[in-house]
Subunit: 402 residues, 4 copies
């Protein structure tokens, strides 16, 4: 058996760190001995624990220690090590893969916080700062951090104070009181605003189907929307509803009943593309209502990412998914609250780009979206199972928009 | 502020007890100070913690302490107090309500384990033993335990050993490896058998639709089924399939395509009721195949509970739901493993009657069943989202039935 | 090949009768020739068709003709034949099994409409009237109609007029415009009221979780609820919310967070049972708000059916499921509109008891409920996939309750 | 009122054309009179009907006639009219929008079949042939067909023969017998093979999670897979399973339990990209097993479309969604059967590109996928609700692969 001593610090009990550390050791085939454990006496004091971790060989021990490093455990305290990228987009095999938790790298004896924290990136030293860089953007020869000592993670801490946002994270049920979640979202939005942070919305087309667009327009108008991440479908449905609702006299929403009904969809895209872009279609008076109209009027930025199932698409859509990913990432700067509404594809994409500290609510008709987000590491998302139209109405109410 | 000192003991970190205790105190509006905390050094040693819990008034403190008592916390060590039942079926307002975790009551200075542990019962002193009794069965004047000191709960402990059953409890996802769960279920069944415990199955009609009946017959034949809890629908579908599959030459399963197709259902019930019971229909040679046939042949007991949507029903069905509940409870004696297969109604009913120590797997096409079970307190259930026919085939394979 | 001539009449094209007749013949292994087909020239005129149906042997032909009879096809015109019930609850094997469509039986050369139309019953001659009787209620020697000639069914006709209720039946999608369905339900309710018919509600506990109880109270108060069919869970949740919301100062809805939280549930049941019944608990001032309170105040009848998963249960619950089924059937007399809200068990039970002419809307978070209803023959139900709380708020709005 | 006479021909009753025509007229606010209706006497003969359609003004009548044209109705028989595209990618407002049904355009008095039939396209005259062209690919000045006379659609006809594929289309239920659908799929595959048509698979990552990859490898090996349409996730999961299963000694599938577990995902992508492509990774011996390995070995083409949530991505992934759409379209030439397995995004994309005559089965754990496909016009898809792993095992069995 080989052994290593590791230390855990922080709210390691409230935030479920110590239990998960035990679990990872056992899962990894190891054993542990608790050498010391002090628990913070009050809400303010943090706790710490020192564990002796043992495994049958150094390789197995390394794997366990790597797991523990994601829980913030520090063992041998020495500088992080780096190796150059083999080629553009090709990492050394021992690369460290990031989580969405705040991460620190030890350089010349000092712990430096990582820039642009997001999950599933390499850690590349750029201008002396360890930076989260997507695999494909790493350039030949850039120093890539390797897994092992010198990297520390600060996992998401669950708050000790009641009704707080962190308190509810990663919980999802159809049976939870929606009002509690709506109220928490509204409070988080107010707090983010007070801190000068921005509020992002991820939007799926079901918002238009469920009539949630009406409340969403109010939220945009009242200034509660700072940036929108979506795709072709939401924008095209919203524009089609705006353009064709009255002219044809048939219900746009019950599209199933209409043979060849997707013509309206194409017609709307054609009309907007003829104007040149959504902005121009609004400014030239073609589009007179709806969510996209309001976003343009209020100068709220929106990023529309292409997908292989798109009709059209609208001229505003970024059809290269990697460029779209970068545009999303850029648009998410300084976001403090993110509402993910009825869109699995775009919500997971955004979850991949957000640091875990962003307060996130995921609303959909089934548990599938929040469950998937949790499985993919967006552990901070509070799941709410309801009609997204209902959520938006109540949120607009709670924020007293009119 | 008022204060009370409480002690927690056991695997309070591995089993997530300490964290939940902190959470309950904060949720209840209280504060705490950790006076002492020792963590078991090895897998074998347990941990303990001493907390000072404070709240703004004695009433709020009582509510918090009650919550903590469900986590196994002991505070003032004195005998439990009792009050007589006001009338048949009417409890004193301060009654203690049981969980499905092993519970101990302090009587004359000694801790006595509760008999017939199950959730949502009163604790009644019968023949000197504190016993779980459903509200409606408590008789006038019987001593009913009150919430407060003298009652201790031993919450479910999650195992420290890998791949163990407890390790996976209350986890559910479509993305988990089914093989791991099937293997764990098979292992738990073998272990239960070795300990002389019984294996219970809760069965829904989708088993017949998904063709899982074939594998289930093998499991019965190989002796892996000790008791079946179900309703009218599963039995009637199984009997209809057995009786009418070949005689009419149409596919019984694709019933939707047949106008008036539920006649077959009624016909099967009529034929079996004419014989007098399922057992007699088997013994008289009317029913020659299927799950019910095999259960009769192998003398495996089954309990069929009535529901308001039943056709017929079969003569074997217990139409009084309270008597059916009691028959279920009686049939679940000494059960060590319970497989809940594609039936929300009966699975929740069985979950209400099982102590949490019974190893439980819940299989269904969506997360809804395991999520509901968890919400209602059947925390020990491992959820598996798959086709129940698939699960049964793989389980039969794993147990090498033929 | 044997042959028989059958005639179909009515809106056989609009109502999709002719197509389904063709389909049944082919599925049954038969062939057909269309001898004559006249299609109603205008909306008012009906159509008719005469088919020669052929099959390889008389038995196969009989099976096809039986299928066609459920579509309203008449062939040999002669009186229906009957055989006596063998014993109490035991039918002759050739019994005719009813659908929920209006049915006519030929007696002494005259077509007589069936009384108490509902699905999955035997047709028993009682006081000279062919009557739908559940299998178990047929008495020894009573004349039971046999399948074959002399029985005609009038299948559900889909309306030719736009936006009408029948127009939408048996359609379900998350993508339909909710407003259209809410408006159709409100219109159907007003029409039913004008015809002197009653409006029934089937209620599940999720109504309380989703905050739909507030709007439901308004609907009761405004006189839009004539009868309620439900179970123990809905009533107990509603009463618990009414009784304990303020006294304990914790959120009753987020019950998951509370260890031993189902105590509140039991406490509420205990308090109401101590009063003797829900009515007495309201009248004695114990219960001061909520849906059950309003039902009692407005003298709206409610029937609570027991199920095996019930806690308590409340004293009002009928624990014998067959008696509960009968009480449901009695309560559904003269119902013209039925709203099925978030309860699969009770909705299917009610669907089994309703003639197909009752306008039915089924609301739930997933397609599962409306799909199941359709599979089980409640073809008239319009499915609406949304949050039941949202539906109730919008319905109350549409009906201008306040 | 204005009036127009239209004619419908074909299996207009079996295929539910006449009923839907009536429905569209009423929905469009019109009225109709059936002037003549003859129904094909036998299975072989087709039927025909002549309707007088009336509406309040010519505009409304045009809208109704347009709807009827998608049902194959012909009215005024004259040549189709065209207008030039205004700019690259911009259509004249009166453009005709295609369905996925076989379409014919009248040019100089002759009916010419449309090339490259797919839905939601413009009809552009290219080299004298009316061709389905996506909006964005229409060039300035190209003649674009306008809605109105001269365009006829041949809607999907449902077969009159039992157990046939067309017979089951657009039906979906959890309660259908899976065996019937698996057998129909296998038969359709054999028939397609006999006709020299190809078999396409749309693959989602859940196939790997559910262990369906093992059966899928067998199907590839036995030659039952002609082309694969998928994305980065499926390929990366398959490669990760192949590369890392044994080297790390942890279960790749239960990834959730591993902190930082998505490192394995990135590692696999890195390793394959280092080789240059999936093909090179297989040929150089790095990838030794799995579905992608087998596809390369058997020279089965695959197209991987990028999406905004992709990790990596693999070098093989087409990151421009419009180019990916074109690559999908090219790969689908001469496809006769399409299996859509556990991937909503790619299945809808493929549905958009397939003519309705392609026999399509959509398999997933919930009704959501088949329902969405139907709503978006892929009406030919048979939905099967089961575990995709189960489906693949049974299909491989049915086709006697080994």
């Amino acid at each position: 058996m080989v052994q290593e001593i590791v230390t855990l610090e922080g709210h390691i009990i409230d935030s479920d760190i110590l239990r998960r550390a035990f679990q990872r050791i056992v899962e990894g085939g190891g054993e542990f001995e608790v050498l010391r454990c002090t628990v913070g006496k009050t809400n303010e004091e943090t706790s710490s624990a020192e564990l002796a971790v043992r495994a049958r060989d150094p390789h197995a021990l390394d794997r366990i220690l790597e797991q523990l490093s994601y829980l913030g455990a520090s063992s041998v305290v020495k500088d992080a090590s780096f190796a150059p990228a083999e080629r553009d987009g090709i990492l050394p095999d021992e690369f460290y893969s990031t989580s969405n938790f705040d991460t620190f790298v030890r350089l010349d004896g000092k712990w430096v916080q990582v820039a642009e924290q997001k999950m599933d990136c390499a850690l590349v030293l750029r201008a002396g700062v360890p930076t989260c860089v997507k695999q494909r953007h790493v350039r030949l020869g850039e120093p890539v951090a390797l897994r092992g000592p010198g990297i520390r993670v600060k996992p998401l801490e669950r708050s000790r104070s009641k009704n707080d946002f962190g308190f509810m994270s990663n919980d999802v049920s159809m049976e939870v009181n929606k009002h509690v979640v709506v109220a928490a979202a509204a409070r988080a939005m107010r707090e983010a605003r007070a801190r000068g942070e921005r509020i992002a919305y991820v939007l799926g087309p079901a918002i238009v189907h469920s009539g949630g667009d009406v409340a969403l327009v109010k939220l945009v108008r009242a200034g509660w929307v700072d940036v929108v991440l979506s795709g072709n479908a939401f924008a095209a449905h919203d524009l089609e509803k705006s353009l064709l609702r009255t002219s044809l006299g048939v219900c746009q929403m019950s599209g199933r009943a209409v043979e060849g009904g997707s013509r309206n969809h194409l017609w709307a895209i054609n009309a907007v593309n003829r104007a040149g872009s959504i902005r121009r279609a609004v400014e030239s008076g073609i589009v007179k209502s709806g969510v996209m109209h309001e976003l343009v009027k209020k100068d709220v930025p929106f990023v529309l990412a292409g997908s292989i199932r798109d009709d059209g698409p609208l001229a505003d859509v970024i059809v290269d998914v990697l460029k779209a990913q970068e545009a999303y990432a850029a648009a998410l700067k300084n976001v403090g609250v993110c509402l993910m509404l009825a869109s699995a594809l775009h919500s997971i994409a955004v979850g991949n780009l957000l640091p875990a500290r962003v307060r996130t609510v995921a609303v959909d008709m089934t548990e599938a979206l929040p469950t998937k987000l949790g499985n993919r590491g967006t552990l901070q998302a509070i799941g709410l199972v309801t009609d997204v139209g209902y959520f938006l109405e109540r949120l607009a109410n709670e924020l007293q928009t009119s």
